[in-house]
């Protein structure tokens, strides 16, 4: 066993991790209760999200003191991604009522965190070069921003559907959520932020792989390129052809699906010891 392996396997879940798990679960439950019509509980739900965020951050920091970098592996990065998503959700909630979005995002963050911490570490990754660390960090942040944009697009599609079908009695409508125009604009801005980060990550990744001398025929490489192309295309059609609303939201989600697929392939490969 290399020292890296020992280190990775010896880091057990911190108390902060369990606090985060409980807070995520409680926040999800509270948001669902708010959706069921108990609007007074909304501040409480947001406080729970805040606690989950803080506990999650503490856990990441604690792992840092144990020399586990948040971008050390895809498995670590997944937990970091959940952290970014929760933070973004908190930020957006300060401005808009995003109860529906929260009820969708919180369980996802919970699952990502649990997967990141409790799945077997598999064989230890090769000691990461600085290049690799930067690549994984940037890719995580980029995908995190895309995830937020996608969550907003998802909310957009749900709300838009309720409005278009005149389903005035649905939860999405009663929740009195963020206005469509704002969701669309915010999602667009996030993609503008995420795209350059993701682009740099992609380029660094390509350099890193070629330096390691691995072959480029793994399925995740072209898929990552497909993700990039989706978002590049989205920016182009938004800018040049004025696409917005429903079509833009669908394209955002399609791009994110490709990004998720890349993540899943990485994870499965790691767990399989590939």
């Amino acid at each position: 066993m290399t020292p890296a392996t020992e280190r990775l396997l010896s880091v057990s879940a911190s108390p902060a991790f369990w606090a985060a798990v409980v807070a995520y679960a409680a926040a999800t439950a509270a948001l669902l209760v708010v959706l069921a019509g108990h609007h007074k509980l909304r501040p409480l739900a947001l406080v729970l999200v805040g606690i989950a965020f803080a506990a999650h951050g503490t856990d990441i920091g604690w792992r840092g003191t144990q020399h586990v970098h948040p971008a050390q592996s895809v498995r670590e990065a997944l937990g970091f991604l959940a952290f970014i998503i929760t933070g973004g959700y908190l930020l957006a909630s300060a401005r808009y009522r995003l109860t529906v979005g929260g009820a969708a995002v919180m369980p996802v963050a919970l699952v990502m965190l649990v997967v990141a911490r409790l799945t077997p570490a598999g064989t230890a990754p090769e000691d990461l070069s600085t290049l690799g660390k930067i690549h994984i960090s940037l890719a995580t942040v980029g995908v995190g921003v895309f995830a937020l944009a996608s969550a907003l697009s998802m909310i957009y599609l749900i709300e838009e559907r309720a409005l278009r079908r005149k389903r005035f009695d649905t939860v999405a409508f009663k929740d009195n959520g963020a206005p469509l125009e704002a969701l669309d604009r915010l999602s667009h801005r996030l993609i503008w932020v995420g795209f350059p980060i993701f682009t740099v990550a992609l380029v660094l990744g390509a350099i890193w792989v070629s330096k390691l001398g691995e072959s480029l025929d793994r399925p995740e490489y072209p898929l990552a390129a497909v993700t990039w192309m989706f978002y590049a295309a989205l920016l182009v059609v938004r800018q040049a052809y004025g696409w917005r609303g429903r079509r833009a939201a669908r394209l955002t989600l399609a791009g994110f699906a490709a990004a998720l697929l890349v993540l899943v392939i990485y994870l499965v490969r790691r767990m399989a010891g590939g």
Binding site: L163, F168, D169, E181, G242, R244
Partner: protein
């Protein structure tokens, strides 16, 4: 005892054709109120006359039931036969009157549940009563409480939540899409009354750019002038649609104006920017299919009515909660009212006791001041003072109890027991136990001469 009463007519009991016969103009109110309090057994009065109700809230003079006279008075004032109004007028007294006033103020009795307009009208009526000098402490307190209850109901329940009329719903739907309407432009097609209302609401929500177009330019100009808009020629409709964010359409056209073919061009030119089309015309101005285009949201009159109905259903649910608040507050008010009625008695009792005590105390002080007393003598003076005061205070009640007619003696004794928390024994035991006290009660000690 005087009590609160309500006599009135409202949308619940009579159609507008009847209500309008009983309505009072603002300038008639003061005279009517003053006539009511001088001619009828009414101590305090307030008159609220709106399009949905004409009601008198008042306080009777002690022991009187003024509802009958007030009914007759209202009918006579309007030159109607009292019998003709008998079925449509209602009255409440005492606690039911309090509940009625609180419910009205909280808009629970309004035609549109939760419509807060009535609160302002009540406040105006209250100040008119103040002007006329017919509002007194009881009515004043009742109204002040009613305003407080109304505020509680408004903040604690969902009674006033959700738009309750078509034109505010139109604004709400536009806000769903745009959020803030500041800086958005509105296109009004056709010059109907409904579009005027909706445009006004949009304007007050921040959409200050209003363009009006109509087949007849004169009407467009007239409406534009009325709602601070700009009239534009009908032939420019397509360009106007490209520039608008919210469209309100209410033309009398038999054929749809906002057609699929037109919107295919319009949406493309708009680059699919969101467009909310409120179609309140019947027959409809917009083909429903235009809602399939990206970014176009079409709502017809049925959609708007559906939202109104849903909101009103929510308000009806909230009304139950509001009813409990009214019930609770009315209970508290009645408690206050009850204590108010015994306040003069309490005051008189306290004054009497204080007077007796003061007189005797002064005598004792004078006596002490006249010359030096040994501590033992001072003690005796004090003892006598207390004894004298007690005897004097108990003299009248004791006499009243002993001289009571036989049928009342038991009742008086019982009340005294309750008031002073006594539990007299039934047998001879207390008699034997406290012979001295008993003798005192039976025969108040004659005033002894002061020790010198």
């Amino acid at each position: 005892m005087s009590e609160l009463f309500v006599v009135g007519i409202s949308w619940r009991t009579a159609p507008v054709a009847v209500r309008e016969q009983l309505a009072f103009r603002d300038e008639e109110l003061v005279g009517t109120l003053q006539a009511m309090t001088t001619e009828l057994p009414v101590a305090e009065a307030l008159l609220v006359s709106t399009c949905n109700r004409v009601e008198v809230y008042g306080v009777s003079t002690p022991g009187a039931d003024p509802t009958g006279p007030v009914r007759t008075f209202l009918a006579r004032q309007r030159g109607l036969a009292p019998s003709a109004m008998a079925d449509v007028l209602y009255d409440h007294r005492g606690s039911s009157a309090v509940r009625h006033v609180f419910s009205v103020a909280s808009a629970l009795d309004s035609l549109v549940l939760g419509e807060a307009q009535i609160l302002g009208q009540l406040k105006a009526a209250y100040s008119v009563a103040g002007e006329a000098g017919t509002s007194g402490p009881v009515l004043g307190r009742c109204l002040e409480r009613a305003f407080g209850v109304a505020k509680r109901v408004r903040t604690e329940t969902a009674i006033a939540r959700g738009a309750a009329n078509v034109s505010t719903v139109a604004v709400d739907l536009a806000k769903r899409v745009f959020g803030d309407l500041t800086g958005k432009s509105v296109l009004v097609i056709g010059a109907g009354k409904m579009s005027r209302l909706a445009a006004r609401h949009l304007y007050s929500s921040g959409a200050h750019r209003i363009v009006v177009t109509n087949r007849s330019p004169d009407k467009a100009e007239a409406l534009a002038a009325e709602i601070d808009g700009i009239a534009q020629p009908w032939d420019d409709l397509e360009r106007l649609l490209v520039e608008a964010d919210v469209v309100i359409s209410s033309t009398g056209a038999r054929q749809p104006i906002l057609t699929r073919a037109l919107f295919k061009r319009v949406t493309k030119a708009r680059r699919w920017r969101q467009l909310v089309v409120i179609d309140i015309a019947v027959p409809r101005d917009a083909e429903p299919q235009i809602g399939d285009f990206d970014g176009v949201y079409v709502f017809d009159i049925d959609d708007l009515e559906k939202v109104v109905a849903a909101n009103l259903a929510e308000r009806a649910k909230a009304a139950e909660h509001a009813g409990r608040i009214v019930e609770h507050e009315a209970g508290q008010f009645e408690h206050w009212l009850r204590t108010q009625s015994v306040v003069p008695t309490i005051r008189a009792l306290r004054e009497r006791f204080a007077r007796v005590a003061d007189v005797e105390l002064q005598k004792s002080l004078d006596q002490l001041a006249r010359r030096e007393h040994t501590p033992a003598q001072q003690r005796e003076v004090m003892q006598r003072l207390v004894q004298l005061v007690v005897n004097k205070l108990l003299h009248q009640p004791t006499a009243a109890l002993r001289e009571a007619p036989p049928d009342e003696a038991g009742l008086r004794a019982e009340i005294l027991c309750q008031l002073f928390d006594l539990s007299p024994g039934t047998g001879d035991e207390p008699r034997e136990a406290q012979p001295a006290l008993d003798r005192e009660i039976a025969e108040p000690a004659p005033e002894r001469k002061a020790v010198t």
